[in-house]
């Protein structure tokens, strides 16, 4: 065989191989063509290369160059065909793997915190920003701590404000408010005092939509030499705005508590009618959210604090009332009933 014939055969091989590769479908067909044309033993190209040995020595390099050129051309075409085939196969697979991405996700179980405890936490957070730290006191108190040390002597007409549940311990009763905590904090700390006292309270009160025999209060106490009623007013304004919105109107007016002097009732603009007057606010446009005042000298003295040198303010609020106004809840009983349909609204 001469050089020209072999070269022509190689070129024919190349044309055929490229044609076959272009026509082949799938990676398996490409693998078969790889073996058929380029296989090291028995492949068409190997067969043709055996003819090189029969050529004259001076012709061999040129033909060898043609072989290399054709081999790399066919290998390149094969690799490209393989890549295309893999891409096609992946596209087909992904196409088959499609899911209904509009179906609901797998639910992640989560419970709900109770709105009372959450409201306490929110109140503590707001006052915490102003340096108030949290304390807790006992729920079983005595006539002395719950009343007398708060300037409510026995047989005082103001006792009508607190219908009391008594227990079978000597002088024992269930605290009617968180105010006894004021005395406890004053005994534990020296001024400056900024204390917050959340907790459960009890009253002898028939239960209905707006009365509960068990409820939660948050008490606040601040004592220092210069703590004034102007401070109280500013502090309560900040609280009203934090809980009910920056634009909420507030009103600071006289109230009555035996343990404060002067005493304060603190109102916010009605959350139902924004102050224009509606049944919820008895058409006054205002809703009372807490009672407050300057700590009575009697209370300071019982707390071991000199009422001439020091002065301070205290406030107390019903947590349920705050929660009801914030969340639009109309019935106090819902809080202790724990109907999950009610609780699960508070995500």
């Amino acid at each position: 065989m001469d050089r020209e014939t072999l070269t022509a055969q190689l070129r024919a091989f190349r044309d055929e191989a490229l044609r076959e590769l272009a026509a082949a479908r799938g990676e398996d067909a490409l693998e078969a063509l790889d073996v058929h044309y380029l296989g090291r033993r028995g492949g068409v190209l190997s067969g043709l290369m055996r003819g090189i040995g029969a050529l004259p020595a001076e012709d061999r390099p040129a033909v060898g160059a043609v072989v290399n050129e054709i081999r790399s051309e066919v290998e390149g075409a094969l690799a490209a065909a393989r890549a295309a085939a893999r891409a096609d196969a992946l596209a087909v697979r992904l196409d088959h793997e499609g899911e209904d991405m509009t179906a609901p996700g797998r639910p992640i179980a989560r419970g709900v915190p109770h709105p009372i405890v959450e409201t306490v936490a929110r109140i503590a957070e707001v006052f915490g920003q102003f340096g108030f730290v949290t304390y807790e006191g006992p729920e079983v108190e005595s006539d002395i701590t719950n009343f007398q040390m708060l300037n409510i002597p026995p047989d005082h007409p103001a006792r009508d404000l607190w219908d009391t549940l008594y227990v079978d311990l000597d002088g024992g009763l269930l605290r009617t408010h968180t105010s006894p905590g004021q005395i406890r904090v004053m005994h534990a700390e020296q001024p400056p005092i900024r204390a917050l006292l959340p907790g459960r309270c009890f009253r002898y009160e028939a239960v209905d939509a707006s009365h509960a025999s068990e409820f939660f209060q948050v008490e606040g106490l601040m004592v220092d030499e210069g703590t004034s009623m102007a401070d109280l007013r500013g502090q309560l304004d900040e609280f009203g705005h934090a809980m009910f919105g920056r634009g909420r109107a507030t009103r600071f007016r006289p109230g009555y508590y035996p343990f404060t002097e002067p005493s304060v009732a603190f109102d916010i603009g009605c959350v139902m009618c924004d102050g224009s007057g509606c049944p919820a606010c008895s058409r006054t446009g205002w809703m009372t959210i807490l009672g407050a005042g300057m700590v009575h000298p009697v209370v300071l003295q019982y707390g071991g604090i000199d009422p001439e040198r020091y002065q301070g303010f205290a406030f107390g609020m019903g947590v349920e009332r705050i929660a009801m106004l914030r969340h639009g809840i109309g019935d106090l009983r819902l809080f202790l009933e724990n109907d999950l349909r009610f609780l699960e609204q508070f995500r």
């Binding site: 419970g111 227990v167 900024r194 068990e214 102007a230």
Partner: protein, 838 residues
Amino acid sequence: MRVPLSWLRDYVDVQLEPDRLAECLTILGMEVQRVERWGSDWQGVVVGELLAVEKHPRADRLSLTRVRVDDGEPLEIVCGATNIAPGQRVPVALPGAVLPGGRSIERTEKLGFVSNGMLCSGDELHLTGDAEGILILPPETPLGARLTDLYGDWVLDVDVKPNRGDALCLLGVAREVSAATGAQVRLPDTVVDERGVPVADRLAVEIEDTHLCPRFVGRWVSGVRVGPSPDSVQARLLAAGLRPVSNVVDATNYVMLELGKPIHAFDAATVARDAGGRARIVVRPARTGERLETLDHAERELGPETLLIADRSGPLAIAGVMGGAASEVSEATTEVIIESAIFDPVSIRRTAFRYALRSEASLRFEKGQEARLARVGADRVSRLVSAWSGGTVAPGRVDSAPDEPQPGRVAFRPARIRRLLGTDLDAAEQRALLARVGVETEPAAAATPVPVAAQPRPLAVPAAAGEALIAVVPTWRRDLVIEADVAEEIARVAGYDTLPTKTPDTAMPPWRPDPLELRDALRSVLVGAGLTEVVTPALVAPGHAEFAWPVGAADGIAGEERTAGRPIRVTNPLSENRSVLRPGLVASLLDVLAWNERHGRNDVAIFELGKGYAAAPDGTAGEWWRLGFLLAGDVGAATWNQPARPYDTADARGLVELVARIAGLTPPDWTPHRDGSPLHPGRAALASARGAGGTPSLAGLVGELHPDVAAAWDLRASRVLAGELAIARLSGGGRAPTHARPLSRHPAVERDLAVVVAEAVPAGPVAATIRTAAGERLADLRLFDVYRGSPLGPGEKSLAWRLVFESPDGPLAEADIEAAMARVGAALLTGHGGRVRI
């Protein structure tokens, strides 16, 4: 207190609209809770004139009337009253009218005659107390006018605070209006036209204890004709909330509302006479065994704590609380004794509570009354009785203490008041404000004591020269005693809304740990784990309190001890169901489950952080914090991608493991608890876990509810898992920070081990054995499979564990791990009879 505006205007001019007046009073501290349009329920009632009154031909008691209400055709109206005559002006309810109580008036037929409406009695209109006859209006009443326009009124409901007994009357409210608007107060007329035999010759009063009765003023009115009060008086009393009774009794009630002075009238004929022929009244404590029939016709047992108005033959009235039936003013009464006295407030309050007779009168007495009112009230009532019932007032008063106290004097320092209020009101401004409530001021001499506190240790600070003023307090203001009281008065007259607003700029307190920290951490983790937080009542039924849920070794947990002792009982419970303080939480959680099941909800996962309570043997109350939880039904509802799975005991244990981790404790150890009720004997365990240093820090009981207990609660759930835990620092205190360990630079080595043990061998002790035998390089141990069946023998199970070894300080040698596994195998064999499956 109900304040009819038209009545209030007797004592002060009011130019303000009712709503504005209400706001002014509220801002001044007299909170107006409601403004009511009195008479707004007279709809369709107009003034008519009777043209003719004829007998009904078929009914003796009915009359046929013709009534003119306007220029049109007269109305024919059938009427059952007998006090009517042509020419009278009367209230006519036209067809379509609605009367108080929602009663609607229609055109009706009565025995053959059509009635085009109804003539109204005072009682039907709630305008007077008379239900017998038609209300006859004054002849000049304009024809056709709507009754609402003529007799309607505004009534303010004022919440008078307990320290302001002086304002529990129209005159007191008038004084507040005056403070708000500057209008002058007009005092009621107390001039009495006296005639006849002096009272001193008719009445004698003896007071045994002047502490209980500091003053008694008596007056005498002769020749009264008892009957109804004038209609206008009855209308006022009704608008103010009192029923009219008779002209004499109404006069006492009228003065009580007007001046705040409760006054009692006796039928003088029923009071025993002394040797001089005088009616003789004794004010004395009751003697044991004495009895009195009170005005409400109840027979009262009296005792030495009860103060009486009595005569020689026995009790006439319970002083300040209620009169006696026998000495009551009746239609037969002609001679009246007026009692206007001051009593000890505490004694009256106690007596009123003792007999459950808290009346308008006792409410005023118990707030304290100024002595002057006894005289003024007696004069005023005498004048009104005389005017309304035609009697004559005997000259003079019987008066046990005619000297009246001077106004109180309270020194105050304007600068100290500025510091308290945070204002810059100067002394002149403070004086001007006080003057508006009748408090005059004068300079105080140097060293005048300024009352800072009255109790428990009276504290008065001597004033520096020129520093203090003296407030001269009107006798009726019993609430102004110390400097802070004067400060409030200044602030309220100035208006609280004139005070500056600032946030506190004084020193901050030192840092303090938040007692809620651990509870808050547990709350958020448990909520994240799918449990909903509940808050349940602490007062429970006695049966609940006996529901025992021992939490195990809680007594060893510092600060969380269960106080041994009996339940604490409420001595005056609202109901038996809320009469005992609960010792623990689980019974309350069962209530929540039962409630939700009744409302169609079966999948319930809840927890509560709350207190348990008991009385310690020394009589003190113990209170401790607990975490309780309850699981029933399925873990979430079944969805297309996740089947429902019922809660089981492993969920309960998993929660305890989670809680221990959050609290920074060791994984809990479990001890089976086979006591039975309230738990399934085979599905209950005590948990305990320790904190840093090995201190006991968590203890609790967890398990599945005993079927008998579930039945007692009427529960539907087939399984209820519940637990209650005592955890250190639950009652307050922060969480210790985590101490991070350095990461090992060498890979961990995992080995699996299956051990075959008898069915009765629990996994917990097996795990403990593995931990001990494997040594300190065992970083994790996990039970990943439990297998029963071939090739194991009957009564056997295989527990498959994954052991993870780690070494912080060097690579793990294969030989060391092999040695550890060999130790584990040997220990399992000796400890549990287990054989390792190859």
